[in-house]
Symmetry: D4
Subunit: 230 residues, 8 copies
């Protein structure tokens, strides 16, 4: 998005948004709308604009309380998921190849995992979510390991000590993207322990995204699918 | 809990939860439900499920405002304590041996202390809470020291400078678990000073739990009771 | 140790040290000499004093470069281990019961693990060190699990993401003391990630010591052995 | 590596090291020797062992001052690079496919970039190092962009504000692994700003490694090459 | 503002405020009212006072929910902008010379950018806002570069990794003031990464303001305009 | 306060509070009630208890929204100040000697300054509040310096960079207690900069209290008045 | 000290130092020389200058390795104490009144305690050092409490969890200055835990100095002695 | 500097360096050599290259112990200042206009102040250093204020609480660049308190550089001189 505003109207009556339509050509990923910090009216007009332009677009961090302020008609223009706080007007063409496994440590990691899952749905990429594989009960992971390894790329979503990254990283040869989550309380609050834990994983080649950044992990996976599989 | 969800239904219509029923055999402690971050409807269905299965289960971090959204019938299925934000459908069999003293520094530490106390009640372990033993008035601790020392295990709950850990740690030979609390303001906020203080206690052999983790201290105590006393 | 010095001689010509000989009666653990920050001459005179008094005493954090400044005779008075930087004049009577397993994640955790091991040797407690059980290669842990579980208490020593705590904590019912280590670089430096990871372990009842505090974990174990097994 | 040591010989006379020879089968990457914190004698015996076993092995974080203590014969067994502090006895078979671009922001990032480059050399992967592409002089990057984009995977190595990650991330569709470096002083010291900057990059799909972890980025690239190109 | 209150009336019935009317003479900038933490009644009486005194005054951090509590008459006394949370009773005389470019990385930086813009409006300084010039899409910046460079001073407003500072800093010879914003989540939260990134910018001579301090950047620009251009 | 609660009634039906009535004898200061984190019903019963016992007691951190829940009768028992969030049932006897100056940097520091002032009122100590002496307008301080220096003890209350501590510390020979405040935004948030600034003041002998701890500064002053002036 | 240097000789051939001789009149304390970061030659010339001027002056943070570079003659001009790293050319006149107790928690706090003690010696103030009163062995403190309470002012010096501040603060009515020390390892390193602990002490009226700032505590005590006792 | 290195010679035999000779045209400032982290041989060859090319070049962070390894001939090619750790082969043409005042709080800030001064000398800009103006002795600043205000731009260099920024910022209308220094110990260590203090200065329009970044402040000043005065 881009605009220039002169000092005569410095109260930000934001009139127009120019999208980076060229981004797909450059980086293989279309621009998305990050809703946090944007005003509801701006979001609503973007929904209408993309709907009428018949352009597939993804909205992330669209909180249920903001979505509730949309009109019924605006709501009908988008496919909304409250758990992941994502929405899209329509999805991109299905990719023929490339399957992504999204593996979470606990129930509380679901919102981040589904941000990744929904982003992949929007991008046309097949994926499976494996929930509740936390390593304090190893059987949860080991019984699903074969199914996980039948995917091309693995996204690990975990909070607290994020021990899942090292254990799963030691059991698979697949590319791994690890997303720390801001689950927990006390020293775990905000997800910095999980972030640190994933960055220092003993398993080789674990790459890490920002805390709660399920969207970013899906984008990283998309780079692989674009480069190697399609 | 464990489930697999395929990409066709990636909006997380969470249908089923598989508990780690085997955990008691492995680690001597049944799984509990950590309520923070879970949706109210999920919690309500878990309450009903465990009630009808006649399975004892502990809920932690069940905030009063969430509990208030339960139906009266659901409320009747559980024993709820707002101070500690805990609930259980029923308790496990009483342990014959093993008494735990829970010692707090100040009134503000009560919610954490009672999370430990209620977890022990659920686990069938006898315990006594000694409140307000902060060492800025040493007599508060010393007059209760004999009573405290008649227990097998001591859980220390303190915020701010958590000086109680060093003083009590120097006056008893019992196993000690120290729980820092997020009491206070300014530099004390969030409990990091209390955590650091307990980890650097001059008294030898003070073991520390995460901030506000009364549940964890009760579990640590349970490991001792299972291993040595029953 | 204790002394009073008047202002006339305020240059700290430290003449005498009074030990807390009564500590064993109070807390079941004798006082030890923490060498870091003490001057070499003070340490040397303590070695001689305890040798001639035939009193068993433990020295911790006695760096090799300090030990190298001792006379040969002083060296002959103590049993020194450079890896763990510990020494003792003689050991306490063997405990009849109680066996401690010390389990490390990697080779770099050895110095901390052996501080725990040597402290237990000094205290007369039997123990086994299981090195290199890091969970990035799960078989390293699982092949030793039965042997580990034949001990009464488990000390876990790990740096980096310290994922071992959650995995082993989910596979054993024994009392657990976790010691984070300051192994690694970047975000792992100083051991704060490992500390945070252990405090937020998903396995219930993991109690944590200060970073690199193998001595403290041995003391915590000793409290259990004193209370329940001897 | 793995060993068990009984309490009789608790002074850590480390006799033997068992490698995780199975790792390549599991994760597609052989184990490497992380030299930091290991004693020189241990490293020297490992060099000899791997040389005589004719097993290719990589040593990382082998500081020049440690290497200087090796005998000439031991030195002759390895290919040593002081800038990257890496060594190997021999390299693995050349991979037919897969080229990695390693792009740095400044001269001071070279040691980390070459840790990645040397790891790739050891793993048999072709690669090119593009140095000094920092975006304060954009032409440095833009004149090399076409050459960079002819590689399959891009590793970005940058310290300070690590702005290169966002700029290059917006100019390429290739998979990206970003390595923050501990270059600089003041608030830049230790690399935490660079780490935070890369994790919050505006370019989509930038995956991040621990500070100074060139080895990890090479391993992450290897997972892609193993999975998609060979 | 300044007052003395004796202990008899220590309940702070704040009666009167003395402004630093002399500040303009000393530092070339009039005092402004920082509304955060001030009570609504105090703010309302200040609005009336300055209106009736016909004194131009700027209010910063005047949240919409506080403004909503003003009477319609009070509202009519000020020019209010909700996006930037600023208001003024009237503006100072237009400066003949000096034009400031305010360049933002993304839409979410607008509130800070407009705090700077509105402060400049109040101070009588011409300026242009260039929004959405984030360097993940370099063309956004490069197509506006000539227009930006026709200004005398550049204020850069960016959150997350704030890479815009280094790129723009390398493309212009103008004085630069960089304002980090508290945009984003996870490690970006609170703006500390953006602050660190701007302070360590590779481009020479980038001067930095506190997080979200658009007002301060405008004041810094005003010092230049006062000193060199008027 | 002190109580013992047995495990049968572990839901914390807090029946009774025992005050440390002996504290005045030991430390010269009566106990106060810190309201934050205490339940409203507990506070209301304490108000009634102290009122009927005719015991002077101070309540700190009694937020207006909690006070609003008191009955009119309960409100009539106490003297309440919303700005400082303090209340007392009655005050202690006036001290004959000792005058305290409370000097603030800005209006936003008032709530903390008045917590100190009100505590001194309760303790019977004379005091004067000098507001808005921030050193960005030096005349604000210098014109009041003589009046300030006619007091026996000086409490400095300042947020942000807290530069007032060094400047005033260099202009007076009086005992100084500095209280940092959590005023401001960005890097100033929470008051850690002000705390650090006061602890590193160049003026010799500046002693510092916790952030926002006006109560503590008044207690520190009281120790001097008790020891030297009464 | 003060000087102006023109740009022609910008290599800092520091020719002259002007002391703040007026400081004693203003704040009751003469200026001291903080040696850290000053070059040895500067320190040596200051020693000679103050010796020949027969002016009493205190040097702090004068490390033994710097002192070793002085000539024997220069050494003869000062009274040097390596433990506290302090020196003075001569002392100020003895104060008739005012006795300060300096109480430490452990042997490792001695260097800071003696920095306070030596500063008091220089200032002519009587004092006693009570070492090793750490509260993990309460008898160490209680047996000396009466002697401590016979002093007018108490300086508490403690590292690690600094629990001594709360315990002693609850047992005395004297003015208290607490100095955290940078003793210990792991989370204790650098003294931040001790600082936080002292700032959040439960005992009322504990005022805190910067980490390791024994000099500052002595200055704070001097302000009291000047104001109230002489 | 820029080079491309192919994987055949990945041991970094750095052969050549390409300078950003175009930088002066773009940003008005020539590139400088930041010596920290560069190898001595590289620095020595740069010295020779720039000497023989008769190109003025500035070296920063050239530590005396590195300079000592230069040959006498190489030393003769540069003008070296050990205090500021800077060197240049020759200086740029004198600017006709623009005078910069560099004001420090204490002697320990000299190395940073002279890094700024020497950079200005190299850039051909007139400047004056005013040392030791710390506000704990206000007269030090006020007696020099008129002289300071006769300069066009002011650079403030201060560590610890950096109170000088607010005081001087309130006494001058000139453009201000504030450089925090890493002077001090305890909480002051590394300069983060000074950095935070300057960023939150109450004086309006204080712009801040990275800790110890005297070079950056000189560059910022140069941008003004280039834009407005020459």
């Amino acid at each position: 998005m881009s605009k220039i505003i002169m000092s005569d109207n410095d109260k930000s009556n934001v009139s127009h948004v120019f999208f980076d339509y060229n981004r797909t050509a450059r980086v293989g990923l279309p621009e998305a709308v990050f809703c946090q910090g944007k005003e509801t009216d701006t979001l609503r007009s973007l929904v209408r604009e993309f709907h009428f332009n018949k352009t597939p677009i993804l909205f992330t961090r669209l909180k249920p309380e903001v979505y509730a302020l949309f009109t019924d008609e605006e709501k009908s223009y988008i496919d909304y998921c409250p758990l992941s706080a994502t929405a899209y007007t329509s999805v991109l063409p299905k990719k023929d190849k490339g399957k992504v496994a999204i593996v979470t440590a606990g129930t509380a990691d679901a919102s981040v995992a589904y941000e990744a899952a929904r982003t992949l749905s929007y991008l046309g990429v097949r994926h499976t979510v494996f929930e509740d594989c936390g390593v304090a009960g190893l059987w949860r992971l080991t019984t699903k390991l074969d199914a996980i390894n039948q995917h091309d790329i693995i996204i690990i979503v975990a909070g607290l000590d994020a021990a899942l990254a090292s254990v799963l990283g030691g059991l698979t040869s697949k590319p791994l993207y690890a997303v720390p989550t801001s689950v927990g309380y006390g020293i775990a609050e905000k997800g910095n322990v999980a972030l640190g834990s994933m960055l220092t994983s003993c398993a080789p080649g674990v790459a890490v995204m920002n805390i709660d950044n399920g969207y970013g992990a899906a984008c990283a996976a998309m780079r692989l699918i674009n480069s190697f599989l399609n």
